[in-house]
Subunit: 339 residues, 2 copies
DNA sequence: TAATTTTGTTTAAACGATTAAACACATGCC
DNA sequence: GGCATGTGTTTAATCGTTTAAACAAAATTA
């Protein structure tokens, strides 16, 4: 690699000390510096194609202007979209993003956090996986700024940005009932994550509120170790019931993807035999013969807010902020029109 | 933020110089160091929860163990999948990835490269956008290791990893002909990018080889400024011809997505009235009533190879390597069976 | 004119690691 | 006993910035 230009090189060229060059290029002490000299320094910097060595600056200032982003898996559309929004928001404020996929694996999460800390990221944005509270407690103790998004732990004293999953679920089920569906099932992950439980709870609350008996066996929870198979089984079990559901709420896009594939294969007619609603927006919903009604997460807002909160807490050490943003139900042909 | 433990802290604790601590923790001069002292240093490091300050190390060694990844848009599935593969491969070799989306915008590309260089990334993996040859020439001149992927410029003397787009297209068209289709159209981007031209060229070559007259107006090129609308128009034009095509090859998943949506809306029957093949694997293909036949890119191999080549050229300054990896055609219901 | 203030710039230490070279001491050899 | 060699550790410079403090000269004030 070609040797890069340093402050010293500019200083030598202009015939001043490198301190002065630093002051000029950082617009400090502007009142006192000779305008002519300042201009000459700036010109020379441009001429020599000087660029700050961020590494050296970081070492001195203890600030890297870097955010670490930890998602479940950057290759899934939800994470990727989030990454893009965070990237843009961070860039606006002059931060760069390094990312890692935790793969729903606690060791991996720990390793990522360690890597990021060794690189002295200024803060972290994390979609935490199950059973990683201990890691977050560590972060709190070390006073490292971080913000959770999508998922959160009520017990941990930290900022987060999530959708109001309870209400989104509640509203979706209310809509199904309004359409005339009577037996509504849900397929969710088997998980202790609060945001997923909120989805089931919102579903149950809606049934209760609207005086529909929730049949226990209409709630299916699938293990994350082999989603396609578990989802198929869940649907088979639901449809094999003596009184099978007339509508299903899928608690994530991933679950719905496999669910819809299977339903299509089984020739179950949507929405006449079975109505469907899914969490998350996906391109795939549009290609199904009955485009899915889905719960749209406010990704843009979530990403921007998370980034904003993080940078605020990096820069002003501000207080904890928690948001449950409203989702919106996008109604389409996988559900009938309301009665 | 809580003060972190440095080499000096360990040195003080153990009662040795920080140089010795550095030697021990980096396993250097192992032959000469007193085993007892070495162990004590290691124990103390663990006890104090010491972690190398990568910033300081980087400043001294001029090595950041960081790779900069520049994709068109991290939120699109192709880029995101690639990012994940590169992340994993890089992590294995102890590199971290920072990413940026160029948005098919040359200023943005330039800015990203600059940002990454200021952070002294050890090398770059780039899916370059149109008209950015000048940036890459700069990188070559500055002797910064980089590898292109997906896209490449024949004129630039650099390593790259791409699919053999020409052959993939050729094979897809050959397959369509084998199935009995006679009038085959293609919808591609309007672009000077070699890998996209290869797709059209492979298509043309296949028609020529198999003695099918290529009708010029069966080749449609859409501007990237408003893909959905341009794709709709292209399909409308194709289908309004006196002898409309009986098969269409979509040169990207994005184009196909909008194409299929429109075809479905227009009630054109697939594959009886119109057969479809798309580049790229997408979850959406499975939900269409006639799951798409598609050209699967060897993403895993491309990502791993690109990362491997980059790290090699960072570490051993190795020579240029260029790969055109074979794609594979996954045949499904959007094309009839071969005659 | 001397003291004080202002203006413009430099000095030097620091951030936390790496590493060549120096050093001190022990051991082996003739 | 003297010299070379080996063993174990330290010294000190360096990477490229930032920044408090010092300094020198010019301008202002008393």
């Amino acid at each position: 690699m070609v040797k890069r230009v340093s402050l010293k090189d500019i200083a030598r060229e202009v015939g001043v000390s490198s301190a002065l060059v630093s002051y000029v290029l950082n617009d400090k002490k502007t009142g006192r510096i000779n305008k002519v000299v300042a201009q000459k320094i700036k010109d020379t910097a441009k001429l020599l194609n000087y660029h700050t060595n961020q590494i050296a600056r970081s070492l001195k200032t203890n600030k890297t202007n870097t955010i670490g982003l930890i998602v479940a898996d950057i290759s899934n559309p939800f994470s990727a979209t989030m990454a893009r929004i965070i990237e843009d928001e961070a860039a606006k404020k002059n931060y760069t993003v390094i990312f890692g996929s935790s793969d729903e694996n606690p060791f991996q999460s720990e390793k990522l956090i360690e890597t990021f800390m060794n690189r002295y990221v200024d803060g972290l944005i994390i979609a935490p996986r199950e059973n990683t509270e201990y890691l977050l407690h560590d972060l709190v103790k070390q006073e490292i700024p971080f913000v959770l998004f999508d998922r959160y732990f009520p017990s941990i004293n930290t900022s987060y940005v999530a959708m109001d999953n309870f209400k989104a679920s509640f509203d979706a089920v209310k809509y199904l009932i309004k359409c005339g569906y009577k037996k509504i099932g849900i397929v969710n992950y088997q998980s202790t994550l609060q945001h997923l439980n909120d989805r089931t709870n919102g579903y149950l609350k809606a049934l209760e509120t609207l005086h529909i008996l929730p049949a226990n066996n209409l709630v299916k929870e699938v293990a994350i170790d082999n989603i396609p198979v578990h989802v198929e089984n869940a649907i088979n079990e639901l449809m094999a019931m003596s009184e099978p559901p007339d509508a299903i709420l899928f608690a994530s896009g991933e679950i719905a993807l496999h669910g819809v594939k299977h339903i299509k294969q089984q020739n179950i007619k949507v929405p006449s035999e079975l109505a469907l609603i899914s969490f998350d927006e996906m391109a795939a919903w549009d290609l199904f013969y009955a485009p899915l009604t889905y719960i749209k997460q406010p990704l843009q807002k979530m990403g921007q807010l998370a980034t904003k909160i993080l940078i605020e807490s990096i820069e002003d050490n501000s207080r904890i902020q928690r948001y449950h943003l409203p989702g919106s139900l996008v109604t389409r042909q996988s559900t009938k029109l309301p009665l």
